[in-house]
Symmetry: C2
Subunit: 218 residues, 2 copies
């Protein structure tokens, strides 16, 4: 009996945390990331004090809500980078992230830092883009990735993948796979490659620094 | 003096029409296409009777709001289809429509018929997809477009283009051009083409009928 109260307290705290995460997750899905902390507290049925004790800032909440997606994303990038064949590693990243993202609009928006205040992910972005930059350089060195590919092109494909989330839901995964395969075809080095127009300079904007992200011969 | 009153009436009517179109345009941009007729009337400062006299149905209003975009889109498709070189025609469609669409999220949403009630454009979609299907078949026959291309791939690229609207605005056009050029590279027939996974079956869903849209050898 002596242990019941602390156990009960811990379990209430866990319940609150779970309720807050579930509320935030559903609000982000319904209304995007502009949802306020006040709205999250109301939906979760907890007071603002409880919310801020668990999640002292919006960024902390965002990171907790999208912890699973972030972990999945990181392991896709880490596994691709570890592949001894850099082209196979890069294409697996394009395919797997496209499929992951098409079902997680909220995460992609958060991760891409569309919203000035949603910048919980800058460090993660910088780290992943740096790994992907290294992978892309190796794939170019092996002659399998086109020489005029820049990391911005990968960002472009990942951003564009969001446009597919609106396809009829039974078709989104099929659409994401086909789209990723087309992107891979576009990236492949071949004698038929035509020069591309100037790149979009997105990766530097997404990472803490543009250093280490340079890929390609420009 | 005898002509002043009718002239005044005509000019009031024109003012109302312009105000309604401006109100609808800004509401669609701010809140998407789910905006109601009542909201449009309120923003325009006209009564519901006036609104419905000018625009008896939501579809009629949508088509009027997006008349310029629709005209631009149609002439891009018509000009591409009229090009004696079908590959050049097809690539010009991909490039020009990508750039057009990146600045017109509302139009693309309306045109793609995302919203069950926003189906003002089915006829236009059917007609344009049929033209594009003919153009693609000619580009395949000339050996410039990959044999496993299907019209759904073009729809996929146009839908994906919407994801780029969220890039920093100074970069959207550059991003759209680069993205379109990558799509063209993916579509080009070459000895390096790898087989693609199964296509996404989107075009049939967008057109009144799937007939006449079949492209490619499946």
């Amino acid at each position: 009996m002596a242990e019941t109260v602390p156990h009960k307290l811990r379990s209430d705290a866990q319940d609150n945390r779970d309720r807050i995460l579930a509320a935030a997750r559903s609000l982000y899905a319904e209304h995007g990331l502009e949802v306020t902390m006040r709205q999250v507290a109301r939906r979760a049925g907890v007071g603002p004090a409880t919310l801020y004790r668990r999640f002292p800032a919006r960024q902390v909440l965002l990171e907790a809500v999208f912890a699973d997606e972030l972990r999945a994303c990181r392991s896709i990038v880490a596994e691709g980078s570890a592949d001894p064949d850099p082209w196979r590693g890069l294409t697996s990243v394009v395919e797997r992230i496209s499929v992951l993202n098409v079902g997680n609009q909220g995460f992609v928006d958060a991760f891409m830092g569309e919203y000035p205040r949603a910048d919980a992910f800058t460090e993660h972005r910088t780290e992943m883009l740096t790994m992907l930059g290294g992978l892309a350089r190796r794939a170019q060195a092996s002659g399998q990735l086109r020489a005029d590919f820049v990391l911005d092109d990968l960002v472009l494909v990942l951003l564009a993948g969001r446009g597919l989330a609106a396809t009829p839901s039974a078709r989104t995964v099929v659409a994401a796979r086909r789209f990723a395969a087309l992107a891979v075809e576009a990236f492949r080095a071949s004698g038929a490659n035509e020069p591309l127009p100037r790149p979009a300079s997105l990766a530097g904007h997404l990472a803490r620094t543009g250093e280490g992200l340079r890929v390609g011969g420009r």
